[in-house]
Symmetry: C2
Subunit: 720 residues, 2 copies
């Protein structure tokens, strides 16, 4: 929900600096200087109990003495004074708060307590608050010009909205952005993110045209479900790039199921970002390079890349990289080729990559680029320059930018393998084309543009709701928890799956010959017969498992033979009955299931099953609940999808039915959130029908949550 | 073989510039200027038919007029004069040649002819030649100081030997090396590599202490086997880093077998570089970053990394990257922690990553680094700096370099997330530590150091020679080619494998009941019986395949029953006999084989077999012949190795026997080089013994080469 109190923080007309100071090299002094140096477009009120003149302005001994209205209170006083400062701000009617002061949650238990009190005040006073323990906020809009931040450099104007969870890192980043030709619109250092966090910023910037792309540096995601909801929506309008650190820290989860052991926090974060359409980067370098591309390129219409170069080697390297990303090398039209041939020397190559050869002058760069931009078969362009006698890098760059100015409709990226000083020169210019040193950086950038295109073109996913037997599942689970079991039996698990319309192996328990035959006939042959006994645990030793029973007659015979064998061995007494089970024939074993991440909640898994689960790790995860898009994306993203498609002449699997299986599982864990783990391994693909059939199932619940769900935290639960 | 004629090119005492010119902005003028500007430490003789003074030196109208001895002739005359120039050089006794002139192989057929003649002259005159169509050569050694190259910038002194196949790219690279703090010892632009190529350079630099690391930019490898031999030896002494471009260009091979379709030229190049211990980089950026690390770091003793930082965020990112490379985070010793605690503030963390917190002054950097270097649990160190008020990046860098000077024994890499100008400053300094902007670059560098360590520690591989029945294989293949078949039958293929001591499914052909029984008894039960018939192609329709025959009695019955079935259907006449085959039980299907790359020759493949071959592509390739190291490396490098180890309670596979299988296959293709494809799919891992057993086999030969081998290019070959 858009909250205009945030405007008080990010677009204030007046700022009170509480803790402003005359003492050099303190935050209270630096931040005053910075606000003025950057020409804040509103009123600045320094507040200091001693009063006096601070940085040329009259200081007030308290916010209450400030004559006019105050939108934003920048708080830099000692932590112990922060709460009382908030009280005064409230009295003054200030709603926008930014607490730079450290000494809260990050310092331990006491600090966390203090932060809790702080948040309570913020909430009860109807304030919004950035920080505490942060670097401040910035808005470079000409109408605002607020640099309420103490990084070394003044902020550069640009179109990025940037959120940093790490203060020091945020500062470091601001320092280097200028070198990278990157400016930003707004910056929020969220610090301990007591109130304002990445999600707040995403929502706040959703419809702010000044912010064309959102960059996030995160070490944690506070509310994954909310993040997903917001990011999924906002990424359809503008790209969100995220660097999520702490990938290795999580370590292996100690969960007991396959699903669990293959999961782990980073898989969850990866799934969440993927499902939300967020572009995930794994290093600051890549984050900035991608931002540079989005800052200067439109979203392309397709993935066909043309490469224009004055040297073969980098042309090859760019082609390698473009192909490795799965993009297409554009097929240059014949007309285009003819036109190129009309002015390029005969030694030039007019096939893609277009090699104008080393002697290409500025005019060839211009003409070639102009001609190629106009080609309908071309969606994106890489222009490569290698130094050649008499041709200046910066002049070529200007020519490229000139053509880009005339033809802004297609992404153009420059690869200039030249001296560092070229990039330094650029950083003082207004550029409209991203320039890189290496071909791979350009290909990487185009790939990101293409990724954003595909995401924006994709229809929004829907979460279907199936007609299921919720009551039946309730009763099965209730029985299990009343028995003190957090793990359902295989039969119970299969019953749960079937109640949710998931195709599971048909079976039944029979205790006499008539029941056996009735069951066999109703399931349909071939069937498997398994004895179940209280006294005989090793069923196979007494021939207690008979497979591939093909007829009623054979079933009768096998049942009678089993009774006879048991009688002979004196084991008949313990027999509870026999399970008659559908015999599923399939040569493809998949796996699917549910794992729970302590922070991200239930995750769905799908992939190659059987003995290959742990060996090949050809599995994929998504955060529940799944949309139909998520489900199909999961199925298609594993290598084993080729097996499902029917590699080597096998029957194609029923993808629609498998998709539904995943969606029904997702509905199950959405209805019963206390399901901790669920494993279907194998989900056998029927040779006959191509359906995925759950041949085995395991479900484990979190006991306490389950009891709470049934309202029986203490004692035995009654029927529901 | 070390060739001291190369010294004439790379360490000349005198150079004749043939084609020297007074005309500005020509190569003949520029190269004269450059030689003098860089203060060549020997004599320069300009040669021009017009004579006169060129760049202040007396020009000679012909090399023959030069009074003194000439080591190196730099040829820049028009292509049509190059051959006659060589004749004159020979007359003058010049052995070192560098032909910068273009207009040879690169221009098409005529040029290629010219280049052939050129090479003939070079060979017959006992000369060595760099080029043609190249950028020249450089040697920065103070005793030589030769810049015979026309790149924009003067070369920087350093310890890199650099070979570039692309002239323009080589020039571009020289321009940016200074910015990257990278200097080199020698540079060879090999151009069309008519004579001198990458292999020549590797051999030449093997024992040249001035060259501490070798960098290669290659688009092709001229003689893969020779490259492998040389590189394998030289990489044990100094690192070789290679960028091999043209990965995507090759496209999918049209070969018909699995082995073939999974191969392809880049797989071959990858295998070759891997087996030779060459560090392969995929972008120039990575190539240079790795070179920067090797230029300033010793090879570490282990893979335990300590991270020292003044900010949490980058510490986390560095940890992520270190762990993702599979290196270890060092366990800091208790003494070290105590010592660190004695001077770091209480908010600092002395666990790895060691966070000195933002306020850390220079002294903390020095003391912490000194303390951590001394810790025996630490093999390599990353030092991170984020700007903090009052602390200058360059001062911190100097402190780090000071400690490195005192403790050169461990690699230290700096991550300085600061302004670009920091790196510009560094480029004018003598550095002994590689500095990067981002944590991932440092982790990448340490990973390369570690890779080189592991390679250097690895014992040299041996190519074993097994006692095999070569004659038998000859006869089998001879029969096949005399029949006009380039594809051996399954039985022939299996016979070939067995002749080379490869464990293959036992089998035999029987034509009557006695033979059937004798075969069955000698193979051992259970067996499989398959009919073989000239008239019945669909064996299974008439029950022509019977599996799991467990006894002589059952075998007799099944054979008789088969005859009866065929008689009833009138199909008995076409029957040739039955194949009695060992029935192998195994639940793990691997694949191995041979594919031939047109350029790199025979390659070995190993991996997960059965239906998974194409789907999972869990296979690996090596160039034949295999060493024992290569074979075991292949087996361990596929994911399915876990299955072989005995995942999920299955019997561990007999790794030694599988290794031998690969080595024997390698010997086979080494003995019969015309084997084009060989597929063993599956290589079934026996449940009982863990052996890999070839259950099916396919061998295809290149007919013409095979005929040549047998000396029967025309007509039928006689027995050998």
């Amino acid at each position: 929900m858009y909250d205009n109190v945030l405007d008080k923080i990010m677009k204030p007309k007046s700022i009170a600096v509480i803790g402003a100071s005359t003492k050099e090299h303190t935050i209270g002094s630096d931040i005053m200087k910075r606000l003025q140096e950057y020409n804040f477009n509103g009123k600045i009120y320094p507040v200091n109990p001693k009063g006096g003149i601070i940085e040329g302005l009259q200081a007030y001994t308290s916010v209450l003495e400030i004559p006019g209205e105050v939108d934003l209170a920048l708080i830099v006083v000692n932590a112990k004074f922060v709460l009382s400062t908030l009280d005064q701000c409230n009295e003054k009617g200030i709603k926008g708060i930014c607490i730079i002061t450290a000494g809260f949650k990050e310092t331990g238990k006491e600090g966390a307590e203090l932060e809790k009190e702080l948040l309570n005040k913020i909430r009860s006073y109807g304030m919004r608050c950035v920080g505490p323990n942060c670097l401040g906020v910035v808005n470079t809009h000409p109408d605002i010009k607020m640099d309420a931040c103490f990084a070394e450099s003044l902020p550069e104007r640009g179109n990025i909205g940037f959120v940093s969870q790490s203060g020091a890192l945020g500062g470091g980043i601001l320092n280097i952005l200028k070198d990278l030709n990157l400016g930003f619109a707004q910056f929020i250092s969220i610090g301990n993110q007591a109130d304002v966090n990445a999600e707040t910023a995403i929502e706040y910037w959703e419809n702010d045209d000044d912010v064309k792309q959102i960059l996030l540096y995160m070490e944690s995601i506070q509310n994954p479900q909310n993040f997903r909801k917001l990011a999924t929506r906002v990424t359809k309008k503008k790209p969100i790039l995220a660097l999520k650190a702490g990938r290795s820290a999580a370590g292996a989860s100690a969960a007991s199921s396959h699903t669990g052991s293959l999961a782990g926090a980073d898989k969850a974060a990866a799934a969440l970002l993927h499902q939300s359409g967020v572009i995930r980067e794994f290093s600051l370098q890549n984050l900035f390079e991608t931002a540079k591309v989005f800052a200067n390129c439109p979203i392309p219409k397709g993935d066909r890349v043309a490469i224009i170069t004055n040297s073969g080697g980098p042309g090859i390297m760019a082609t390698d990289a473009v192909c490795e990303y799965g993009m297409q090398m554009a097929k240059i039209k014949d007309e285009t080729k003819e036109k190129l041939r009309s002015f390029l020397p005969s030694a030039a190559s007019v096939k893609n990559p277009i090699d104008m050869i080393a002697s290409a002058p500025i005019e060839h760069y211009k003409e070639t680029l102009k001609t190629v931009v106009a080609d309908e078969n071309v969606d994106m362009i890489i222009v490569i320059y290698l130094p050649f006698l008499g041709l200046k890098d910066i002049d070529v760059a200007k020519a490229v930018m000139e053509i880009k100015e005339e033809h802004p409709e297609k992404p153009i990226i420059g690869v200039f393998m030249t001296k560092n000083e070229f990039f330094t020169k650029l950083s003082d210019m207004n550029v409209n084309v991203p320039f890189f040193m290496y071909a791979e950086q350009a290909a990487d950038g185009l790939n990101r543009l293409n990724q954003q295109r595909l995401w924006m073109e994709k229809e929004e996913g829907k979460i279907p709701v199936y007609d299921v037997d919720r009551e039946k599942v309730k009763n099965i689970i209730l029985k299990s928890i009343n028995d003190g079991r957090d793990q359902l039996t295989t039969l119970e698990s299969i019953d749960v799956l079937r109640a949710y319309g998931i195709r599971a192996c048909k079976y039944g328990l029979a205790t006499n010959i008539d029941e056996v035959v009735t069951l066999g006939n109703s399931i349909g042959y071939p069937v498997v017969m398994k004895m179940t006994s209280k006294t005989t645990s090793h069923k196979t030793d007494v021939g207690g498992v008979v497979v591939n029973i093909r007829s009623e007659e054979q079933l009768r015979n096998e049942y009678n033979a089993l009774l006879k064998r048991l009688e002979e061995k004196g084991l008949l007494e313990g027999l509870e009955g026999v399970i008659i089970q559908e015999m599923v024939k399939g040569n493809r074993e998949m796996v699917c299931g549910i794992a729970t991440d302590p922070q991200y909640g239930p995750m769905m898994m799908f992939g190659l099953g059987g003995v290959f689960v742990e060996v090949m790790k050809d599995v994929t995860f998504r955060i529940a609940p799944l949309t139909d898009n998520d489900a199909i994306d999961m199925i298609k993203s594993v290598k084993a999808y080729k097996l499902l498609e029917g590699a080597r002449g096998t029957k194609p699997a029923d993808i629609e039915q498998i998709k539904e299986t995943l969606l029904r599982l997702s509905q199950l864990v959405n209805d019963f959130k206390f399901i901790d783990e669920l494993d279907i391994n194998p989900l056998l693909i029927s040779e006959k029908t191509g359906e995925g059939i759950a041949v085995d199932g395991r479900i484990k619940v979190r006991m306490n949550e389950a009891k709470e769900f049934f309202g029986c935290a203490a004692g035995v639960c009654s029927a529901v």
